[in-house]
């Protein structure tokens, strides 16, 4: 028996050696290579998702694996059977396979983001907003949810709390790479953790790791921001989604727009995933805004959504989003008008152990409205890229048509369009004669929206031709701002502006307000938004009203006894009729002082005294340090777009850490270290969102 066994072994090894000496050796090498590759697989591997809960009584849970963002479910993984928990979905195949639930003509896609709740309170011109994102795992395996979402670009995000059941864990602000490392390690070891990073001033990424099947994790974000005030109307805006961005060829630091389930195809550092036409995720939103204006509210309007309202007193207003209009696919915009005569330049202050902080809303002097303007050289620059297709390009054309009709004899104009290429009406600006305006109308009618968004070329075309010094040159950009190279565009404007002024018009339902606002600020002009339900003629008419009177230019402020240390914006824009400017700063002196604003109206100097501001002010506001710090970060970030000075990064980071704020170089992280979930990593599930209302999927989203 023993001998036979020995012989048997001998025979086995002889056969094995024979096999290995030929093709067998190659097969072994390939097998080993595959095994080693499995050990060191790239973190960017594409990953099939686990089954939605309810597809079978059992689900698959992965074996712990080392520090990977996306866990491949290859043949080298150890699979362990686990029973699915939590609420059962109707029968459905795994998302990503294309076989999804039918919902009256729509496909319902299980997504980990269930609901967003927004609670805002506004006092004076500062809003405080709390956003709750409710993540729930609808699958049978553990997941990491990753969600790219927007916030206002001037939001000072200073609070981050992760809620697990009844337990609430406050996130810690840290240097970004340190926070990312901490999060990745917690994720790898199986702890529930969340991370908030900033991709752009108005685009953030929320990651929540180790959400077990059926379990819910909420994340609360709080921020402060200043409201816009134009022509007697305050505007509160909450962006509900980040629109799909075009990234010029050769760039990799943009935000890719890819189809649901196609992680990594854009080649960009960060990505947003979009649902295909007729797909729905079930994610909805609720929103409530409480306004305490301090003075009677005369009127309010919300053209973007269906809302209900209550007014507890003449100074107060509560507006709630109608549950029937809860699809988060466009910006929420609430405008309200307060009693006009009572609005004056107002100073809000706050003092704490860090010193004094103030915010000044500086109104233009009334005298300006009685003066007439100089002749204009008006340059309209239309974004004709694919994302503008449909209603947006119609609105843009209507606005330009209105503008052409409002030109006066003596003015001149130019039309420029850009998409993948750039074109213009004439080699130089045309006189505003009826014949030339007719030509312009024909040119305008022939424009169509398709192709990429090479906005830098549009900027160059608009700012590079010779300027007629006898006319004021205003350059009007009409765009949705769906590009990923914002810094490059702002840098070009900074470099080429000269004596031009830029007015940017945001066209669409969910535009890139960061870019559009910063273009106007860099261009020392102003901004207006034209939604699908707004009157293009009225918006353009309002713009002409502003530029029909001379602006107070070259502003300089004498702060007198206020002893201002740092105030932002560092370069003040021109002060146009109906458009106040908010200046935020630190002070060390007496807030009960007289501030003098010096500027020029045409060639004539003008001084405006604003007496005893402190006594008229809305008093103390503890949000001011955060608002000031956010403005400083924005100012430094703008400088960073013009010159890549590493010292600026350090300054931004230090301000953000000192004031506990989000920035490009800081991040919030929260870890629940009390319990380790089973396994060490889940499958990464990017939260896909619909394309914005009025935007066409096929012209904006990358599908491979």
């Amino acid at each position: 028996m023993q001998t036979r066994t020995h012989n048997s072994h001998h025979s086995f090894w002889r056969r094995s050696a024979l096999w290995l000496s030929g093709w067998g050796m190659l097969a072994l090498c390939l097998a080993l290579a595959a095994l080693l590759q499995g050990c060191m697989k790239s973190s960017l591997s594409r990953t099939p998702l686990p089954e939605p809960i309810g597809t079978s009584p059992f689900g698959f849970v992965e074996e712990p694996s080392a520090g990977r963002n996306v866990t491949p479910l290859g043949s080298d993984e150890l699979w362990i059977l686990a029973r699915g928990e939590g609420p059962a979905e109707p029968s459905a195949d795994a998302p990503g396979s294309g076989e999804l639930m039918a919902n009256i003509g729509e496909k319902r896609v299980p997504m980990p983001l269930q609901h967003t709740d927004v609670r805002a309170s506004v006092s004076g011109h500062i809003g405080s907003v709390e956003v709750r994102q409710q993540f729930q795992n609808p699958y049978t395996g553990k997941i990491e949810a990753v969600y790219a979402f927007p916030l206002p670009h001037n939001a000072a995000v200073n609070e981050f709390i992760m809620t697990i059941g009844e337990r609430r864990i406050r996130g810690i602000i840290r240097e970004r790479r340190e926070a990312e490392r901490l999060y990745q390690e917690a994720k790898r070891q199986g702890y529930v953790a969340s991370l908030l990073t900033e991709e752009r001033p108005n685009v953030f990424t929320q990651s929540v790791a180790n959400i077990e099947p059926g379990k819910q994790i909420d994340v609360d974000i709080k921020y402060f921001h200043t409201l816009d005030y134009v022509d007697g109307w305050y505007e509160f805006a909450f962006p509900m989604m980040a629109g799909p961005r075009f990234n010029p060829p050769g760039t990799s630091n943009g935000i890719g727009a890819v189809a649901r389930g196609q992680t990594g195809v854009s080649g960009q550092n960060s990505e947003a995933q979009y649902l295909r036409p007729r797909e729905r995720s079930g994610h909805d939103i609720s929103l409530k805004v409480d306004v305490d204006a301090g003075v009677p509210i005369e009127q309010f309007e919300c053209k973007t959504h269906q809302v209900s309202s209550q007014a507890a007193s003449p100074n107060r207003l509560t507006v709630s989003l109608d549950p029937a209009d809860s699809l988060p696919n466009k910006d929420f915009v609430l405008r309200y008008r307060v009693a006009g005569d009572r609005i004056k330049s107002a100073l809000m202050t706050h003092r704490d152990e860090r010193g004094g902080f103030f915010s000044l809303m500086l109104f233009p002097p009334r005298d300006l409205a009685g003066l007439r303007r100089q002749p204009l050289e008006l340059v309209f620059v239309l974004d004709c890229s694919g994302s503008m297709s449909g209603r947006p390009i119609q609105q843009a054309k209507a606005a330009v048509q209105r503008g052409l009709h409002l030109l006066q004899p003596g003015d001149s104009f130019q039309l420029i369009s850009f998409s993948t290429t750039t074109s213009r009406l004439g080699d130089s600006p045309l006189e505003a004669t009826p014949e030339n305006i007719h030509l312009a109308m024909q040119y305008l009618n022939e424009l169509d929206a398709e192709g990429g968004t090479m906005m830098v070329d549009g900027v160059k075309a608009a700012l590079d031709f010779p300027h007629d010094p006898s006319r004021l040159r205003f350059v009007c950009f009409l765009t949705d701002g769906y590009v990923g190279n914002e810094a490059e565009i702002l840098g070009e404007i900074h470099q080429r502006l000269g004596s031009s002024r830029i007015f940017s018009f945001g066209i669409g339902s969910a535009v890139n307000r960061y870019l559009i606002d910063r273009m106007a600020q860099a261009g020392r002009g102003a901004v207006a938004y034209l939604g699908p339900n707004d009157s293009a003629a009225q918006i353009m008419g309002d713009f002409f009203e502003h530029i029909s009177h001379p602006a107070l230019t070259d502003l300089r402020i004498d702060w007198d006894g206020l002893n201002v240390i740092e105030a932002f914006p560092a370069t003040l824009p021109d002060l146009f009729v109906g458009r106040p400017v908010v200046v935020t700063g630190r002070f060390a002196g007496d807030p009960y002082t007289v501030i003098r604003v010096n500027g020029n109206v045409g060639d004539q100097p003008m001084q405006v005294a604003i007496p005893a501001l402190g006594r008229e002010s809305g008093g103390d506001d503890p949000a001011l340090p955060s608002v000031w710090a956010r403005m400083k970060i924005a100012e430094l970030s703008d400088q960073f777009a013009y010159r890549l000075d590493p010292g600026l990064c350090e300054q931004i980071k230090q301000v953000a850490l000192d004031y506990g704020l989000m920035s490009p170089f800081t991040a919030f992280v929260a870890v629940d270290s009390t319990r380790r979930t089973y396994g060490s990593a889940g499958t990464t599930v990017p939260v896909a969102v619909p394309v914005p209302d009025g935007v066409k999927y096929k012209t904006t989203v990358e599908e491979k």
């Binding site: 290995l20 095994l35 406050r170 929260a670 270290s673």
Partner: protein, 164 residues
């Protein structure tokens, strides 16, 4: 081929082959096992419960400083306490946090009969501990107050929570 096989010394060929197969599989398995093990060894997460004991006086407010003295601990989250009055996670000073020193403060406006008495967990600090040596912690109560805003004598302490 057959000739080549026959030319192999019987025992030596077998041993080499077994060694090759075992070493290659061992290497692969080792790589898989080693990486997590090394990283696990470098850091672990733990929760430190923070207590304040004001004796029989209802506790309405506190401020304390919690420090990791050997620099091997990073704060990864701050959780509220056990009692409803201190359920919300306390605020921290971001400047102190840059030195892994956390100054926590919280207050409750509830009536005295709704406030905790005796030793109560007011917060939990979530930490990442790096390295093999156990970290050293210090806690210092800076102030504590009652429902009337008066300063009260109290003691602060901490304890590492056993992981579930």
């Amino acid at each position: 081929m057959r000739a080549a096989l026959q030319s192999l010394p019987r025992g030596a060929g077998l041993v080499r082959l077994v060694a090759l197969v075992l070493s290659v599989f061992g290497l692969a398995a080792g790589l898989r096992a080693q990486q997590p093990a090394l990283e696990e060894g470098r850091s672990r997460f733990c929760a430190i419960d923070i207590y304040v004991d004001a004796g029989a006086t209802p506790l309405a407010a506190y401020q304390l400083e919690f420090t990791a003295t050997n620099g091997m601990a990073k704060i990864a989250g701050i959780e509220g306490g056990a009692h409803a009055a201190f359920h919300e996670p306390p605020f921290y000073d971001p400047k102190a946090m840059q030195h892994e020193r956390v100054i926590l403060a919280a207050f409750s406006t509830a009536a005295a009969d709704k406030l905790p008495v005796g030793k109560v967990r007011v917060a939990t600090v979530h930490l990442q501990i790096t390295g093999d040596s156990p970290p050293q912690f210090q806690i210092k109560l800076q102030t504590a107050g009652d429902a009337n805003g008066n300063k009260i004598p109290a003691q602060a302490s901490f304890e590492e929570r056993k992981q579930q």
